[in-house]
């Protein structure tokens, strides 16, 4: 059997270009990694991380378990296309071996086996005819669903889908044509030479009866040409379009399991994450900038696209609440917020080295104790929280060192969120030194923004960092705080930085239940809404912030609770614009419930 025909050239050229570009990209990204990351990879390879990665590749790159969780039909659409195509290749390979044994067959021989084997095989193996047709039918059902999704995405659990670029649309068209053209080519082959299963065989018979041999002979070669061209076109488009995710998710899973992560500075590792984005658009629906404000060009999918093609603008990079709702839903698990942060860092102003020289020698703290309390700028703007914390400390008999009651230095996170990472580190160094100087062992803060930066960026070994919700819960459990329970009904708003940011959901709820009855809002915990006042966004204006806060307040009010509770001073101020004094900080309701 010979394995060459002119029509295979588009396929061979396409596949060659694709593999060359892929190899070139991956090798240059790996070479660009810092030495420490390379060490992590080398150390990780002989460990169980490799096995875990293989399992994750099967789960996520072939079966797409996480997309099934978003919506079963959406999951089936993607799995039928991806896993179906994979099985077509794998079973096709086995079929060739079953017919030809150990004979060497080049790549195009496998792909176009039906063409090369036409009329040369005496005994068809019925199993393969059936299996290959079944798989093709499954893939075609996926293509049909993909077409249907273009018309009605809502039926598949997506309110909105991605608006694709022209390049992506071209690649998409090639992909959509691959399988119908394969069906046509194989059916025509079956019509002339026999064979084929329930799908290609039956269509082949029908074609044979209606068109006649002469017409079919004329259609035979062109049909294979078209199929080969669709494949070749798709392969050439793949490394430059959204379909780069097909291959890139695999190295990403391995690198992630070897503990590589994007950092606050851009690195070539980021390319693995950026190009693993399939632009599925699952991140669009959770975005409140979309649902409340109708902003349609800043969501993570568009941010990653703009960054990948070097057309990222400052207004897109900065227009994000960084609430993390999209990150929680991303089926690829891309660190969307970190990538946006390091893009902002790369686009920042040139920092002034003399900046913040005025911090030197500053110390306005007061009191002494092993427990330090850092109010943070926002708590200083909500004095009720500060007073409540004072009463709680007093009632629990805690000696407290007040870090910034008389005005202190910002924690540095707002600056970091604005991309001025280097300058933010000057503040971090100042605050760390201040904490060390006063010898505290526990640091309590009532601001989740400060909490997150203390936990993620500060080097505070030996100092336990607690959010006031955790600290109060601990006081209650240790019996140091006596509260009169059963007072009123409360609903709780999870602040983004505390919930999705630091994973603290239970402590505040525990505290609320010690005081009264908790009534959950529709979106809660990992799915909670953002208040809209996030420091991460420097683009939206006041009325837009208010609109987001109003929708959040409406949802919290819908629970029918008497009081809205939150544990972030910024969220409190945002909700207070729509709910006046019905919103209170966690510490306030605790302080009111203290029994003397």
């Amino acid at each position: 059997m010979t394995f060459f025909a002119p029509f295979t050239i588009p396929f061979i050229v396409g596949a060659g270009i694709m593999f060359f570009v892929l190899a070139w990209k991956y090798i240059s990204w790996l070479r660009g990694l810092p030495k420490d990351d390379l060490k992590l990879i080398l150390r990780g390879i002989p460990t169980t991380a490799t096995l875990r990665s293989v399992w994750e590749v099967i789960r996520e790159s072939l079966l797409h378990v996480r997309i099934f969780r978003v919506n079963p039909v959406l999951g089936y659409m993607h799995t039928s296309l991806a896993f179906g195509w994979f099985l077509l290749i794998a079973v096709g390979w086995i079929e060739v071996v079953a017919y030809l044994g150990s004979e060497f067959v080049p790549l195009q021989g496998h792909v176009f086996f039906k063409y090369f084997a036409a009329g040369k095989i005496a005994n068809h193996i019925a199993f393969f005819d059936f299996a290959m047709d079944l798989l093709l039918a499954i893939v075609l059902s996926g293509v049909l669903l993909a077409w249907f999704k273009r018309l009605r995405s809502k039926a598949m659990g997506m309110r909105r889908t991605t608006k694709h670029t022209t390049g992506d649309r071209i690649a998409l068209s090639f992909l959509w044509f691959v399988f119908p053209l394969r069906l046509a080519a194989e059916s025509i082959t079956a019509a002339i030479y026999g064979g084929g299963g329930f799908l290609t065989g039956s269509i082949g018979k029908a074609l044979h009866n209606t068109l006649g041999t002469a017409v079919l002979e004329n259609l035979y070669e062109p049909s294979w040409w078209l199929y080969s061209c669709a494949l070749g076109g798709f392969f050439i488009a793949l490394p430059f379009s959204r379909y780069m995710h097909i291959f890139t998710e695999i190295p990403l899973i391995f690198l992630r399991n070897y503990k590589l992560r994007p950092t606050h500075k851009e690195s070539t590792y980021d390319n693995f994450e950026v190009q693993a984005c399939s632009r599925c658009g699952i991140c669009i629906d959770p975005c409140q900038l979309q649902s409340e404000l109708g902003i349609n060009n800043v969501q993570s999918v568009y941010f990653l696209r703009d960054r990948r093609y070097n057309m990222l603008s400052l207004s897109v990079a900065n227009d994000c609440l960084m609430c993390g709702r999209c990150e929680a839903k991303c089926p690829v698990g891309i660190n969307l917020n970190t990538l946006r942060l390091n893009s902002r860092d790369a686009m920042r102003n040139i920092p002034d080295e003399r900046r913040y020289g005025y911090l030197r020698g500053l110390d306005r703290s007061e009191g002494s104790g092993r427990v330090g309390y850092f109010a943070g700028c926002m708590t200083l703007l909500t004095p009720k929280t500060l007073n409540a914390m004072e009463r709680i400390f007093e009632s629990a008999g805690e000696e407290v060192w007040w870090a910034d009651r008389n005005g202190g230095v910002c924690c540095g996170r707002p600056l970091k969120l604005s991309g001025e990472t280097d300058s933010a580190h000057k503040m971090m160094a100042y605050n760390t030194e201040l904490f060390r100087k006063h010898g505290i062992t526990t640091l309590v803060t009532s601001c989740p923004i400060c909490l997150r930066v203390f936990r993620e960026d500060y080097d505070l070994d030996g100092i336990e960092v607690l959010h006031h919700s955790e600290y109060i819960a601990r006081l209650i459990n240790e019996g140091r705080l006596r509260l009169s329970g059963g007072k009123g009904t409360f609903t709780y708003h999870d602040p983004c930085e505390l919930g999705r940011g630091c994973g603290i959901y239970d402590a505040p709820r525990e505290v609320i239940e010690a005081v009264g009855t908790l009534m959950e809002a529709e979106h809660n915990r990992r799915d909670s809404l953002c208040c809209g006042s996030s420091l991460a966004n420097t683009v939206i204006n006041d009325s837009q912030q208010l609109k987001i806060a109003a929708s959040l307040t409406a949802e919290l009010d819908a629970t029918g609770a008497e009081t809205i509770v939150t544990s972030c001073p910024l969220c409190k101020r945002a909700i207070a614009r729509c709910a006046a004094d019905r919103v209170r900080d966690l510490s306030e309701i605790v302080a009111d419930a203290i029994t003397k």
């Binding site: 102003n349 040139i350 003399r354 700028c377 005005g407 910002c410 300058s423 683009v539 006041d542």
Partner: protein, 111 residues
């Protein structure tokens, strides 16, 4: 006669001539952040300022000077800001003050 030091001094007379100042940067800033036209100069931003509490940084003053085309030293002065965002929460006109700080720095970084 030797000058007697009474412990205070008189401000040097100072004139801002808007006709002579180059307002191009100022106009660009206004174009990108039109809400700045609603500023009433109340100074709440400065009163609440974290950096202003520790230094003589005065956001209202810097903003006013920049708007009148007095750019000298504005970038260095703006760099004292910690971007903590208290001013934005308190501004009675709801001006995106953090955005203003970043915008002024971006526009005047090369001055």
């Amino acid at each position: 006669m030797a000058t007697i030091n009474f412990g205070y001094s008189i401000n040097r007379p100072r004139l801002i001539d808007i006709d002579r100042n180059n307002l191009r940067k100022s106009d660009e800033i206004l174009l990108e952040m039109p809400e700045l036209q609603t500023c009433i100069g109340c100074g709440t931003c400065t009163a609440s300022c974290t950096a202003g509490n520790l230094t003589d940084f005065n956001f209202r003053k810097v903003h006013t000077l920049v708007r009148r085309g007095e750019y000298a030293g504005a970038y260095e002065e703006m760099n004292k800001c910690m971007l903590c965002g208290k001013c934005r929460l308190l501004c009675p006109r709801g001006i995106n003050t953090r955005g203003v700080v970043m915008l002024i720095k971006r526009k005047l970084g090369d001055f």
